[in-house]
Symmetry: C2
């Protein structure tokens, strides 16, 4: 340990500063498995806001990069370590206090999303945002990336539930923004600025989250289609008048991958499958599902199934969530989360098919279809150098396509390091300049997560 | 007209630049009737983003302050004119295009909130945020202040519906942020930063708004209480498990003021009245209202009335909205919008009563009770110098009280100029410093709405 690190260690509780190379190696990459991830000096496994402040102050004094990290389940390389930097992990900051009267939860960032949901449920309350990875992703990472999920089509994304936070700034100052107030417009919307800033403006050490009453059990519909276009048409017919609590799309490759691993009895011959749920109260859920069934039938669905049994519905949802691990079993993945305005959905999916063919790689597509957010999963063999290059080409071409269609390169995973080079093409030079001015105002030495979002 | 203004006039279409003192005088104040409002050089009644750019570029070149203004219905002096500055009015920018497929509207800032709702309704869609002033306030002003309203308790505030915007920055550059995508995390959350920035960071010239399908007709409940505490208890009992689409509170003084002007047959002897609505689908609305009635009865309501007739429900809502003009008939007003965490609501209302008694002024209280956002309306006679001073003292003491209770000085109207001096007490020096750093990064010469939010 260098003399400098010894000084940092002295400011932290025992065991918080980790320099053992074997342990540190485990913090180099997140789930994006960024091949360019660096080797950090050390990991700080903070136990408190004060630990985070001490680490950031030390880093600021030494101009050492700080990469904040929650559960490490990020998919864009937002937590890839930086050579000579420190990784600031919040995984040990796991307190939560639910206040049923204000219907809020005050949460430390290391708690998993599923644990927030569970703590809320004990009070008959619900924290809606539900990334597919909700059982393994941290709430701090959710806030840092403004994470989405399956129910967002009706219930909105993470930022809609963040009422306040404590955040450690680039000089180690800790500030409190917002609080347990459903309406608060005192000053600039700073809370909202930090949500989705991917650790480039500050390190979130506490969140105040809005909760809502637990919603009724869901009714579920599954529909198969002979063409992607028919399924996309059904999506638009549904969202035009209804508010499904979930509206998911799976293409044939995804259906096959899930069937291989789960044997749910899904129709492998279908070119597309839609999975939708309603959580309207009482008889309204059945009515809403019936309307969704009718919409699918009018769009030439080949098979439609519906159920009011929550357990059966959850089995289908689990199948949808299983696409990612099922496809991962086929090889390494480059995982996209491009989004487009709703009417461009069929063009995007057709374009992705064309890119797969042109690049000679397999791309499975699942989508949060109800909000136009898709996950093309590019499968490749990392030991095949040529295929790896073709996969990377496809990765960029899918983002280029989304931008051409008026869409976004990232709907919910964040820019991180893997999509950074495409961001200027989406935002343009003036918005990039605006972004840089804010970054420079808040982190003039550029120590916070350098390389994420911005070069 | 000075030579400099002539140069600006030459860049603008005929009639856009107004220097006639009689007309300019009408743009000195907004509804807050700020006595310290200045006298501007000129008003620019922009017809396009290009007009706004020309005006801001000219102002930047001459270091002349720019006060952006929508419909002028602001209640915090956010649009008070500045001596020697220009008022940049967006009232003539009134285009709207609704896209039912993406369920979005692209709107210019001068359109009124009610006109956005009407345009959406033509497509079976709904734009939820509903300030009491929805018939006279502009959508641009709504975004600039992150306006709230009555349905926000269930449907959220303006920022929850702003997906994107075009905004003219302090140097005249126009940038596009976000767009018609329900999920988009590409780069910093800049759209959200500009919402609620009260014209201090840029001038919004176009908004992309999220719409949702029109909701079912509402069932309504009205309950009277012998004490404020009992009503506050009923509010907590309701929000604990239900999601009312509206949950409003009126105190005895407000009930009396409305009865004086509308003669609705409200119980003048009641110390508090709650007005709640459900828009749950089908039979669920009646069930939800029945549960709210039961909650009120269990909290010793003296009288409870409910109806499934939307017209009857709307009459009660109109009565609630009429409080502001009814109280205004009693004298001049200082209008607060302090908010507190829900459980502090009874303490806040009792504290406001005590302040009224101590300062010897009349304060009526209405509240968006379901989200802890209250409107103490301080009545005074502006020709009575002593009472004016006491009213101003009460105005500050109410904000001090809200801060002591962990609340906010402004839940939905904005800081503007009238609440600016209290902002540091709520936010503290570190957050004020953070605010200033962002302001300086985006508007280094301080030409955009100087004196609003920050001194």
């Amino acid at each position: 340990m260098t003399a400098d690190l010894t000084a940092l260690a002295a400011e932290l509780p025992d065991g918080v500063l980790v320099t053992d190379p074997d342990i540190v190696a485990g913090y180099r990459q997140d789930w994006a498995a960024d091949p360019d991830a660096g080797t950090p000096l050390a990991v700080v496994r903070a136990t408190s806001t004060e630990d985070v402040q001490a680490a950031v102050r030390w880093a600021a004094g030494h101009r050492v990069p700080v990469v904040p990290r929650g559960a490490g389940s990020g998919l864009s390389g937002g937590s890839s370590a930086v050579d000579g930097g420190i990784v600031l992990s919040t995984e040990r900051m796991r307190a939560i206090a639910v206040d049923p009267v204000t219907r809020t939860a005050v949460v430390q960032p290391g708690l998993l999303n599923v644990e927030v949901k569970q703590a809320a449920a004990e009070h008959g309350l619900w924290y809606p945002p539900d990334p597919s990875s909700f059982e393994i992703c941290s709430i701090g990472g959710n806030a840092a990336t403004n994470a989405g999920g399956l129910c967002c089509v009706k219930y909105g994304v993470t930022t809609d539930y963040v009422l306040g936070m404590q955040v450690v700034l680039a000089d180690g100052t800790a500030v409190r923004l917002g609080g347990p107030r459903l309406k608060d417009v005192a000053g600039l919307s700073l809370t909202k600025l930090f949500v989705g800033s991917e650790g480039t403006l500050g390190v979130i050490t506490e969140l105040t989250l809005k909760l809502i009453p637990a919603q009724p059990p869901r009714s579920t519909m599954v529909a198969s289609f002979a063409t992607v276009d028919a399924a996309a048409e059904a999506v638009l017919a549904i969202t035009r008048t209804l508010r499904p609590a979930m509206l998911e799309f799976m293409d044939q490759a995804s259906i096959g991958a899930v069937e291989d691993s789960l044997r749910m009895g899904l129709d492998r011959s279908a070119r597309a499958l839609l999975l939708a749920q309603s959580d309207a109260p009482g008889a309204a859920a059945q009515e809403e599902v019936a309307a969704m069934v009718a919409a699918c039938e009018s769009c030439s669905a080949t098979e439609v199934f519906s159920t009011d049994d929550p357990a059966e519905g959850e089995a289908f949802t689990a199948a949808r969530r299983a696409v990612f691990p099922a496809v991962q079993a086929l090889g390494s993945l480059l995982l996209e989360d491009v989004g487009v305005p709703m009417q461009a959905l069929p063009t995007l999916i057709a374009g992705v098919e064309a890119i797969a063919a042109a690049c000679g790689v397999r791309i499975c597509v699942v989508a949060h279809a109800g909000d136009g957010n898709t996950h093309p999963l590019i499968v490749f063999d990392p030991d095949d150098a040529d295929e790896t290059v073709r996969a990377q080409r496809a990765f960029g071409e899918v983002m280029d396509l989304a931008i051409r269609l008026g869409g976004t390169i990232t709907g919910e995973h964040g820019v991180g390091r893997l999509k950074r080079d495409w961001l200027p093409n989406q935002l343009g030079p003036d918005v990039m300049d605006l972004t840089r001015r804010i970054k420079n105002a808040l982190d003039p030495d550029g120590i916070l997560n350098p390389g994420a979002i911005l070069t």
